[in-house]
Symmetry: C2
Subunit: 406 residues, 2 copies
């Protein structure tokens, strides 16, 4: 079994890195606080005697090369340590630190793997500062060019490549240098299913599709008191119509569609000025690709109609678009078997969140293990999973990793 | 007649003060750019040989005391020189500079008034940085205490009193020290009526009621991908419902109600996080007080209902509340007569915007003169009035002021 105290201690230690004055955890990709988190993690990799490699998009790898395992494709265990704004401490970090824990446990047990075992912390999984999300693993899997991603402009106007260089994590390895034999990721569910059903382990068999867009509505600034309702080009009101349209459509969908407008910006943002411009993001997800496409098409048609009715101009930019992904059934079955073997309840499930595993599934057999999230809450400081559940998940990861590395 | 070249030159000179790097005019109350505008104006007051007085809330007065006029209540002509964000050059400045122009013209003509004639630039008429709007004239008229207003917190977290002291405009006169015999204000219409009807002069007989509120909606942050639509407390979605509710209600109103949500802020404002909080302002206006009250009551009821349906908590704070105002019919008739006398078309009208005259009407007979706004546009860099129309309005101000000061 893994060293529960070490794992839980590290999760808390990393979770303390990147607190603002209000105590909020904010470790956005390639920021100063991300650097602090990376430094802590790399220190642990070195302590564990792993070979540390960093690629050009800042993905960090800790590689356990045993004499017997040379020249074999490695087993890779990964996730991310960047966070959203005002985050919980488990999203991402749990999987990365459990990966390291598994390697240290196997080493301590004198286990002799037939292939290298590596742990990865991928850059910018959250997609909050730079889009798309899962950026580091996407590049690793060849789904986007490193140079294009390094040119990404952040919500704060920063350039990812410059920020990585500034924080000392623009590495020298070419992304994708490590071709995994298989990929495993352990993560908190971030949703309500496991808790509601009282099941401690999720064997994630698929992941829903994700469509992210940035919408810009241009209207005309005018006086809030003198401009009749019929003469307005109110970009803010048009934005509100888009939010309610998407919400109502997602609620009425036959599939479990979710739609979120998480960011909103008005120009000039003054109390007595009709907004001349509204910029906002749309996060639209569906486990069914047909249904996701139908929502996207309906949204596009609605925006065209709305532009005419509201006398505004509307443009949409795709920030991320990933179809649903099926994980490797062989690994899913191993997860189920490992849980049963330890006397733990397990169910197959869909992931509502995006994950690095989704990208790695393009180049290797991949699957994920979920543990429950209290109240289904994530992307919030109220994110919580019980220690015993975290430890149980890490032991399932250990069992499956042991089989895949044998 | 007034000196058209001098007036138009000053409007342009003041309009060049407070440009940001993008060329946008931003002279928010008590800011550094407001100081530059005030310094320019005070320089012109000194050049004109007027007594300059500044009160504790930063209202600036230029007073023409002739030997004959001592001890009489003055005729006051005023408006403001603060602006909104990305403003036009006419809103407020036109009336202040025309007031100065009238005094200089009367002096040059050797006119001997029976009472002092003064021009005022009131602090924070726009209400964009600090609320309520028309703050300086409200205090002058005794409608709010100076100390309470000096404690106002701005959208940028600043304190008005500290900012006035910093820019050197926390004066020593007690607000209200100058009790006017009558009050005149010349302003661009900021709405579409005069242009549409081809009438160059508006004799403003009343002003609609204004209700400003700040709404705070607290929901719960959660993951955009994993949280089913039915389990959300989405503060952003609830905010959008308020916008569409108000818009539809204003459109359906029997009175010419206008409703605007000009500012919006989401927390944590991240693409894949359900907004935990939305803060926004409501600007609701109606010429009919009964109707305005009905809208306010309907809004309050809607917010209560919405909080339950959307599983959020909602609080509302009144930022400004002014009932409709009737101007002095005697002065309105003088404006009409002066226009006819110069062969100019004139119509009585309602002001859609709030104005300092609205406050001064509490303590003196007051009325306003409007000139056309091209396309009805204001609170926008596209705000425009033809030079000839500006000059015509200033000459009507001259005529009415001459009568009232005689
Ligand atoms: N797991 C996770 O929260 N990933 C961030 C990308 C997403 O929004 O799904
Ligand atoms: N005249 C003018 O724009 N005043 C600002 C206050 C308001 O919003 O009406």
């Amino acid at each position: 079994a893994i060293d529960a105290k070490r794992l839980l201690g590290r999760i808390r230690e990393l979770g303390a890195v990147g607190r603002d004055n209000d105590g909020r955890l904010i470790r956005l990709a390639a920021s100063d606080t991300d650097r602090q988190g990376r430094d802590l993690f790399v220190g642990w990799l070195n302590q564990a005697g792993l070979d540390v490699a960093i690629d050009r998009v800042g993905n960090i790898f800790g590689i356990w090369q045993s004499p017997d395992s040379a020249r074999q494709a490695p087993l890779l265990i990964g996730s991310h340590i960047d966070t959203v704004i005002d985050a919980g401490i488990y999203d991402g970090c749990y999987g990365v630190l459990a990966g390291l824990e598994v390697i240290e446990t196997l080493k301590a047990l004198g286990f002799s793997p037939s292939r290298p075992v590596a742990v990865a912390a991928f850059t910018n999984e959250e997609g909050v500062r730079y889009t798309p999300d899962m950026m580091g693993s996407l590049v690793h899997a060849g789904g986007a060019g490193a140079d294009a991603m390094l040119a990404a402009i952040g919500t704060d106007g920063s350039v990812l490549g410059q920020e990585l260089a500034r924080i000392g994590y623009a590495g020298d390895r070419e992304p994708g240098f490590l071709k995994p034999h298989a990929y495993l990721e352990l993560h908190i569910e971030q949703g309500p299913v496991l808790e509601r059903e009282g099941v401690p382990i999720g064997a994630v068999e698929n992941l829903q599709g994700i469509s992210w867009q940035r919408i810009t509505i241009d209207g005309a600034a005018n006086h809030a008191g003198t401009t009749p309702m019929s003469m307005r080009s109110d970009a803010g009101h048009a934005a509100a119509r888009v939010i309610t349209f998407l919400h109502d459509r997602a609620e009425a969908s036959n599939t479990p569609t979710v739609a979120t407008v998480g960011t909103m910006h008005f120009e000039p943002n003054a109390i007595n000025v009709i907004p001349s411009c509204a910029v906002f993001t749309i996060d639209l997800r569906d486990p069914d690709e047909q249904s996701l496409q139908a929502h996207e098409a309906a949204l596009a048609a609605y925006l065209e109609e709305l532009a005419v009715v509201e006398n505004v101009s509307i443009s949409a930019e795709q920030l991320a678009r990933f179809g649903p992904v099926l994980f490797d059934i062989g690994i899913v079955e191993r997860i189920e078997a490992a849980a049963k073997n330890r006397g733990l309840g397990v169910r197959r499930m869909t992931s509502g969140a995006g994950h690095d595993a989704q990208m790695m599934a393009r180049i290797a057999p991949a699957a994920m293990i979920f543990v429950p999230s209290a109240g289904g809450i994530s992307h919030s400081p109220r994110e919580h999973t019980e220690d015993a559940e975290l430890v149980a998940g890490a032991n399932i990861l250990l069992d499956v990793a042991t089989q895949l590395a044998k």
